[in-house]
Point group: C2
Chain length 357, copies 2
């Protein structure tokens, strides 16, 4: 009973075969459908927990479990280390995903979750924005132009045809490289432009905050001169004390968290009392027809990153791997002839060699 | 930056090269030394959490994190599915371990933790028993003769020279096969005998409870006719409502949990109030000289299974793997030229192929 190991190369094979856009579309559709038919009896999703530390560098290592009851459980382990790009030439977010059979506990598969984390975060914003953003959305504003900005643009461009993508990053070198990083995306002629923070905010129909702002240093923009029907995807706030959106904007907006308990703890919802917070993503999607009425108001999707999103994409990728014959089966678990002998994976000869040592 | 995947075969190579007994001795020594020098600033070990379910079969899937601050973090995922041996010819406990670099979040290694879980549980009982059990211990009693009984015998036999090993299991076929399963262990002539539950309890100097008793169905023996200086290793109680040791025995004994918060929640300490519970394993080892005075009393080590034990053994096994050149380096994380582009693991050609689809 082996474990399927999907290497980065296997993920590349899958994405190339399936298509990056198709994979994004499948993730958006699966998240929407799963939310639409969500039932507390079908899934068990605890709040994520983690290690948060300041040495040797500021960092966070979290585990995000999700179980489809009676079927599979997934666990994503995700590191957030903002010094990575500059000091190690590594992504801020590194992540791996695991999936288990809940009938036996068997470890079914292991895969990269660095790329899937970006993809599913873009997909989540797409699902929320399709309901809450103005139908005639033409301008996307990005505050922060790093890795997660790419997949925000990707996810949203599958739902909206942007004319302009305006971006601002406190690090000019990051905004300078954005256009070349976005070159692989199908943007239907959208113009990518660097702009001042003020101009990004003033012109955006949809605004995504995708920053590594330090705790206590937010918000990352001001509640001044915004469009009346602005929709914000607040993506970077995922840590106690870390906020991106001005409180006054939150207070006067319709706020939808991905996962309420988590958003209250580490999202922009930290700034709100319970009565200020609207439906979570499940409720939003379940009553999508009702909530489209909110498009004329300012709306905020508080995206802290939700284990259900990871679970869905892990399932999609494992499905494609199976269909394409990707991945390496490895006997990871030490299982041998006798399930009641934890040493039975050793041959008799090995044991007697050991005895003789 | 690759991840080392240790297959079951790699673990077998390590155990064969190092020696099963040497590995047990190293684990006992490392656990003892780590406890002896333990400092809250050195480690962060939260209580484990998990999914507990009844469908499709009763089961438990838990994650056990531990971090050596400023160095590595480990995560063990462990499944407990008591129907496995009979219905799937699989061990009750299946497990995998992962280790991460906390400077970057890089996923360093993956390995089986099924065998290590058994080994470290035996090692923990050995550490506690060396302090709390009578020095002239001659008789080991085992209630439950499954996989964990093997490693209890193994760990304890590295510290004590038993004359008799008495065993009882409610399933006669399990006790019948115990002797052949234990054949690989060096027992210095100890006689392995099946006995009635009453005789196991009456004659034991050290008693290990290693059962899959159902919640609400314990204890698994009676507080009758026990030796005055009996030491109990209560190993099987690791679930809310699951208990093995009679409350009256706990009440009159010196009780040492491996990890207090966890033992109160899911160990035999569930039956006690806080004031009835003695030092945890760290405190026991730190003041080992003082606590050997308790050898004349009845003593209980409430072993729920502790992430520090797993962390230590994962480190030992990764160290041996490195020294022996075992394991397969796999590029799991999708990392490419640009850490700010989550899609940069795709070649330019792949992206343009995708565009062309």
């Amino acid at each position: 009973m082996k474990t399927i190991i999907l290497s980065a190369e296997d993920i590349r094979t899958i994405v190339t075969a399936v298509g990056l856009d198709t994979l994004m579309d499948q993730t958006i559709d699966a998240l929407y459908t799963t939310c639409r038919h969500y039932d507390d009896d079908k899934y068990t999703i605890p709040i994520r927990r983690g290690f948060n530390y300041h040495h040797p560098k500021p960092g966070l290592l979290e585990w995000m479990p999700a179980m489809q009851n009676g079927s599979t459980a997934s666990l994503k382990i995700v590191g957030y280390h903002p010094a990575n790009p500059v000091e190690h030439h590594l992504p801020t977010i590194l992540s791996v995903g695991l999936t288990f059979n809940t009938e036996t506990g068997h470890f079914i598969g292991l895969l990269d979750a660095t790329f899937p984390t970006a993809l599913r975060t873009g997909a989540a914003s797409a699902v929320a924005s399709r309901i809450l953003a103005a139908a005639d959305t033409k301008v996307l504003g990005l505050i922060g132009a790093g890795a997660q900005a790419i997949s925000q643009l990707h996810g949203l461009s599958r739902v909206f045809e942007f004319e302009d993508v305006l971006l601002y990053d406190i690090d000019r070198s990051v905004s300078n490289s954005f256009r070349s990083r976005a070159a692989g995306l199908q943007l239907h002629g959208a113009r990518i432009k660097q702009a001042s923070l003020v101009d990004v905010c003033r012109n955006a129909d949809i605004l995504c905050t995708v920053t590594s702002v330090a705790t206590g240093k937010g918000p990352v923009f001001q509640d001044v001169d915004l469009k009346p029907g602005l929709h914000v995807n607040a993506v970077g706030s995922d840590f106690p004390g870390k906020i991106e959106v001005p409180r006054s904007l939150l207070k006067r907006s319709f706020v939808c968290p991905d996962f309420r308990e988590q958003a209250i703890h580490e999202g922009d919802c930290q700034q709100l009392s319970a009565s200020d917070i609207g439906p979570n993503l499940i409720e939003l999607v379940k009553s999508a027809d009702t909530y489209t009425e909110k498009r004329d108001d300012t709306t905020v999707f508080d995206s802290t990153g939700w284990a259900l999103e990871d679970h869905i994409l892990i399932e999609i990728l494992m499905h494609h791997a199976h269909a394409l014959g990707c991945g390496t089966p490895v006997q990871v678990e030490s299982i041998a002839d006798d399930p009641r002998d934890p040493y039975s994976f050793l041959s008799t000869e090995d044991r007697f060699n050991i005895k003789a040592l």
